[in-house]
Symmetry: C2
Subunit: 339 residues, 2 copies
């Protein structure tokens, strides 16, 4: 690998001059030398060693992102927003998938800190695990103490800047809609218990239903993986246990897609006999059949706002932005069938 010294030697100049030419330093360099250096760079296919540069000029420019899984449409959208703003600021992103493993998340925080990232974004639900939360916050605090910037998406448990989707309010909206349409026996297929997103959404739903006099029964809730297959499995369980449900709320759209598949498999009409609702309004939500009634979360914006917060200077105090949820009525939810 060619080094700056090689370039300088070939161009017959000092490393200092070569460096100045290559980085477009403000210090003037004679045209002839400049050309010799540039030619040497081209001849040697020289690319500066980014690590050496970072050591010499500690100007952190990359941003670390920790998500549960980029290939999950939810995070794919969020990441798109993160990317957009990062690119606008000329920042490179290092994207890490924790695959919902708290330990791995902790490791990645260390790793990104070691990489001297300018900022750290944690996207995705927190965990109901005080031990973990404390360790995470300690690590983040250590990072922030040395000038690192942190922004989280959808986590209550962090003291700093945060962007929050209105999970609870969104779920409430959905609950009210179902009640309004006459549904009384409502089942829920939920993501993992340990995720705060699950409990937040469940909380909003529970509140809405309780307020309208049809409290959510615990035995009408099934927990499973936050994905399509989890949704299908949970739906099967739910149907076997309580066949008289008129509506199923999936706590995200992937699960809702699984529910739809299971219902189709069983020949249950949607929304004729059972209505199905999702959450997130991921891109495919409008294209399944029946099109999914869901709660739209501004996923891309969640990402772009978080990145903006992270790249701005730290405020005097933590900023928490709540981005609103919106009910999207499509075909999968209809009036409850008469008993």
């Amino acid at each position: 690998m060619a080094t700056l010294a090689d370039v300088a030697r070939r161009a017959g100049v000092s490393p200092a001059t070569a460096s100045r030419v290559i980085n477009g330093s403000s210090k003037p360099v004679a045209e002839e030398l400049r050309e010799r250096v540039l030619r040497a760079v081209a001849d040697l296919r020289y690319v500066p060693n980014a690590h050496a540069q970072l050591l010499a000029r500690p100007q952190r420019s990359v941003v670390g992102v920790i998500v549960h899984d980029v290939s999950d449409p939810y995070f794919a959208e969020v990441t798109r927003g993160l990317q957009r703003v990062a690119t606008e600021h000329g920042r490179l992103l290092i994207i890490c998938n924790s695959y919902r493993d708290p330990e791995r998340e902790l490791e990645y925080v260390e790793l990104l800190r070691a990489q001297q990232v300018a900022a750290l974004i944690l996207a995705g639900s927190g965990y109901h695990d005080d031990g973990f939360t404390q360790r995470l916050n300690e690590k983040l605090a250590a990072y922030e103490a040395t000038g690192g910037r942190v922004a989280v998406i959808g986590r209550h448990d962090h003291a700093g800047d945060a962007v929050m989707p209105a999970n609870e309010t969104g779920a409430q909206l959905l609950g009210e809609e179902l009640v309004r349409l006459g549904h009384r026996r409502i089942g829920v297929i939920a993501g993992p218990r340990v995720l705060t997103t699950t409990t937040d959404r469940l909380g909003g739903l529970r509140r809405a239903l309780a307020e309208h006099g049809c409290p959510l029964h615990d035995d009408r809730i099934r927990y499973a993986g936050f994905d399509r297959d989890g949704g299908a499995a949970a739906t099967a369980e739910l149907l076997d246990a309580a066949g008289d449900l008129t509506a199923i709320v999936a706590l995200n759209d992937s699960m809702a897609v699984g529910a739809l598949a299971e219902l189709r498999r069983r020949g249950v009409a949607v929304p004729g006999r059972v209505s199905v609702a999702g959450f997130d309004d991921m891109p495919i939500a409008g294209d399944v059949t029946p099109a999914l009634t869901t709660v739209r979360l501004p996923l891309v914006e969640l990402g772009s706002r978080a990145m903006t917060l992270a790249l701005e200077r730290a405020g005097d105090r933590a900023r928490v932005e709540v981005l609103p949820a919106e009910l999207v009525r499509r075909a999968s939810v209809g009036a409850a069938p008469p008993d």
Copy 2:
């Protein structure tokens, strides 16, 4: 930010000893000193500067990945495979989205080279653009000349290790199936002309149809973006221009989803009046209505094989692995309706 020197000072040892303790060097260190160092590390929340480490011990461990767009399900799946193998080898991934911009792709190659990545994976279609291809290959050659490993996914235009999906064969399979089912007036909604993936798939289809005596007419092909909206738009155009088609082949599943949406909007029965086929078998393909007949590509395996090639030592000559495509029959393709 605490440095190794800080740790050493606090522990009352030399930086050398501190380094040895922290990295678990093979050189023995007295238990007492070891503990003092570890305590200092904990007290100072010390994390080694990864850049300094890489400078001092040039042991490249991160792998760079350039994809068109991780949030595209195709790449999301491929990336999953890449990730898995990388993680198994203890490698961190830097994922870069080129958003199908060749210039950006070139920039990212430079950037990753500057980052001293151990290997570089280029995933996703090549471009019909000789100038670009040449520049890219030059850059990759320069990188490989200094010990960098390169593996590409789905690109003919690179001389080194490659993993190729059987785009052409897959399309042929699909073409034969359509002919077998009596389709003669077949339209195609294709991705951007400039992508080799588009032309490969189109080529396979064209060949199959020609062999069975119903050549593909150029005026039954529409090019658009390789996404859902592109698919919907191209379908609309196609239908307006040639309303008598009995089948529409989308060159990827996202476009097929768009096609389905447009057909539904127009009240055209699928597959009753028009059959629709996709390509890729992305996760949602089985869950739309009607479920998509498509060509399955082993997306995750594409990624895992490429990463494996890249992490193995370079062979004496380039290895090219072709991963087979498989026709997946679902509901969206049926027999051609009688005229």
